[in-house]
């Protein structure tokens, strides 16, 4: 295997934008795949919508979701642009898109058409809603799926009114799910010799996420309650200390009893409300409240040391700024100081997962719009003269 990672040599044609697709192809790129990001002439919307950066089209969110990819900007509204796409499809192992199926059909990007050209292609559509149900081809954005999938409702159980998680959460999770499905189809192709079409619907994927956890008693009983009360407890939050917060998880008897000792309440181990896993589960409100009340007198660092000494699972709570200074993340090579060719010094993110057969994780940083037009076209077999004719026409002139 190449030193670059388990997906080295896999060629991915990436017709995705914003978060759901780029989250998928980031995982593939981190593992060595050659991801060609085919953008419209105006670029992925996320270039501008993901926060301020030195350049107006290199938002930080775009930068983090698109490292390790090459960019080519192609006008698919022109016949010449569609011809470029067809040549790239011939070379590709994977084509992934989050365009709606109506738009894909107008462009001729269908499994029937593409598999006729390249039967080994893995063709993945990330959809809002799966084609087997009535919402098929309805437009979906992250918050629409947070609302429809019950994620907002789960937050609402705790907070008193439904609300969205402060993440592009359903896009982000569905993208990871799509990266797995694509990888599975690549595995199957090694054995069968054939590609296939995959559909990854956001709504069904997130309904799966929510209902595995929260169908609860209604699984068996049409009148039974939904929602796991242990994680929906209003006191399920980091616990205030004298100078911050800490997260502590004392689940087994050994951990809970050590916790009672640590807070100077050893008698609680004999309290029938708290003397077993089952008892603490039944009295989770009282147990969480007791924990919350116990920790306000000492600092986060003192409690962290105390819990470590007693082998009680705990970690200080991090703000987002604090996370960026976490020594473990720098030691692990996950956080790294890098220098973007146009954006200058920046903090980059490494690959969280390690593979023993992979070399070091050294992905290039995210590309400017169209920056790799020449190398992508050359790899697809275009001659210098053909490339010169395309650039500035159906293919956007690369900067510089």
């Amino acid at each position: 295997m190449s030193a670059k990672g388990p997906l080295s040599g896999v060629k991915v044609l990436d017709l995705t934008a914003v978060v759901v697709g780029p989250s998928c192809t980031l995982t593939l790129a981190e593992q060595g795949a050659d991801v060609v990001k085919l953008e419209p002439p105006e670029g992925d919307l996320l270039r501008k919508l993901g926060g301020p950066a030195p350049s107006p089209d290199m938002s930080p969110k775009f930068i983090h979701f698109n490292r390790g990819k090459r960019s080519i900007a192609v006008d698919l509204k022109s016949a010449a642009g569609l011809a470029v796409l067809a040549r790239l499809v011939d070379q590709a192992d994977v084509l992934v898109t989050n365009m709606r199926s109506g738009a894909l059909e107008r462009l001729g990007i269908t499994w029937e058409a593409l598999s006729a050209r390249n039967p080994r292609l893995v063709f993945c559509i990330i959809a809002g809603f799966g084609k087997r149900g009535r919402y098929h081809d309805s437009p979906a954005y992250d918050t629409i799926v947070q609302g429809a999938s019950g994620f907002a409702a789960a937050l609402g159980r705790v907070l008193g009114e439904p609300r969205f998680a402060p993440f592009v959460l359903c896009d982000h999770i569905t993208g990871i799910i799509a990266s797995q499905a694509i990888t599975a189809a690549l595995y199957a192709r090694e054995r069968s010799g054939e590609g296939q079409a995959i559909e990854v619907p956001m709504f069904e994927s997130m309904a799966h996420f929510v209902l595995t956890e929260h169908m609860f008693r209604r699984t068996f009983d049409p009148e039974g309650p939904t929602g796991d009360p242990r994680v929906m407890n209003p006191d399920a939050k980091p616990i205030p200390t004298s100078d911050g917060y800490i997260a502590v998880s004392a689940n087994t008897d050994a951990q809970a009893f050590a916790f009672f000792d640590a807070i100077g309440r050893p008698e609680l181990r004999d309290d029938p409300r708290f003397n077993s896993v089952g008892a603490r589960f039944r009295n989770v409100d009282a147990y969480f409240k007791l924990r919350a009340e116990a920790l306000s007198t000492r600092s986060t660092a003192e409690w962290a040391a105390e819990f470590r000494r007693r082998e009680i699972p705990a970690m200080p709570y991090n703000t987002i700024e604090g996370l960026l200074e976490d020594p473990h993340l720098w030691e692990a090579g996950f956080l790294r100081r890098e220098n973007h060719p146009t954006e200058g010094p920046m903090i980059g993110l490494g690959r969280p997962v390690t593979f023993s057969a992979a070399g070091p994780d050294e992905l290039p940083l995210a590309p400017r719009l169209g920056a790799d037009a020449r190398s992508v076209l050359a790899d697809a077999g275009y001659t210098e003269a053909e490339i010169a004719a395309l650039i500035g026409g159906a293919v956007l002139a690369p900067p510089g």
Copy 2:
């Protein structure tokens, strides 16, 4: 390829418990892998901790996370139990565990030992914290990682105090990430002939999830703000109607202008606060507030029809109970009435992803503890006499 899915024929030895590992191996099972869940004699903790069911050890959360798997209960504290594990490793393509590395070393479950027996093995450790940093081998539970990774902090930005999402969120997401990493290593093995060791750390994985979205301007500027204000807006929530809530996402000019028409405020398309994507982004507080105020006069169904007519992306908000009645999810075969051999009639969850080369998604329901001891041992080459000698000793007698 088998009709069962892209991972048909892959044998997974599953030494995981609760959510992070079962979420990983559920994905593999849904795609056709033969997942053998090796449980301790007392069973996966989630059997009892995941809510009430007809049987005391078949909690709904356990049932949903463990369908399509076989169960064998083995006492790994005995030499005979460890010998069973070794025989199963010889047959396996994948071993995945979320036990801490100290415990694994005491049991001799290390990459060095196992790859000597089976060099084609893919060996995946799902860890709390990666081995390259100082927190390595610290205990991790979901809420500890929610607190440490900045997820609780992101919620805190919106809510005024840090809190956990009401899901076993970091376990659940990291499990999906692990399923992709394992699948990638299987793909690489088809090409190299060799297995490898994978480490999937929860903390780094979730720091990646949080920071791709929220490193924001601090990516480039040590004093710059973190946190994407668009998703952290306090009004980023489903919008109340006269009888419920609706989620609507009007991002492009065409969508926003159609929305202004729908609410009877066509003049807003000329308002400099709202007349372009950039203007609405800069005035997101005012834009969200305006949307929230506009919808209280009509019902969710009326607004949904109005928005559909005007091609404005929107979907009614679902409660968890409402989600279980959603017609799309039943039509798609994702929600299904099933009959568990011991738990009786229940609602089961299908595979959200579809693969064109896979047959129908017909996974058996989750197993009772030790239910598959005989078939698992027979598949590993044990004779009837050997199986009889093991059952009731190192291998728990299966029920019935």
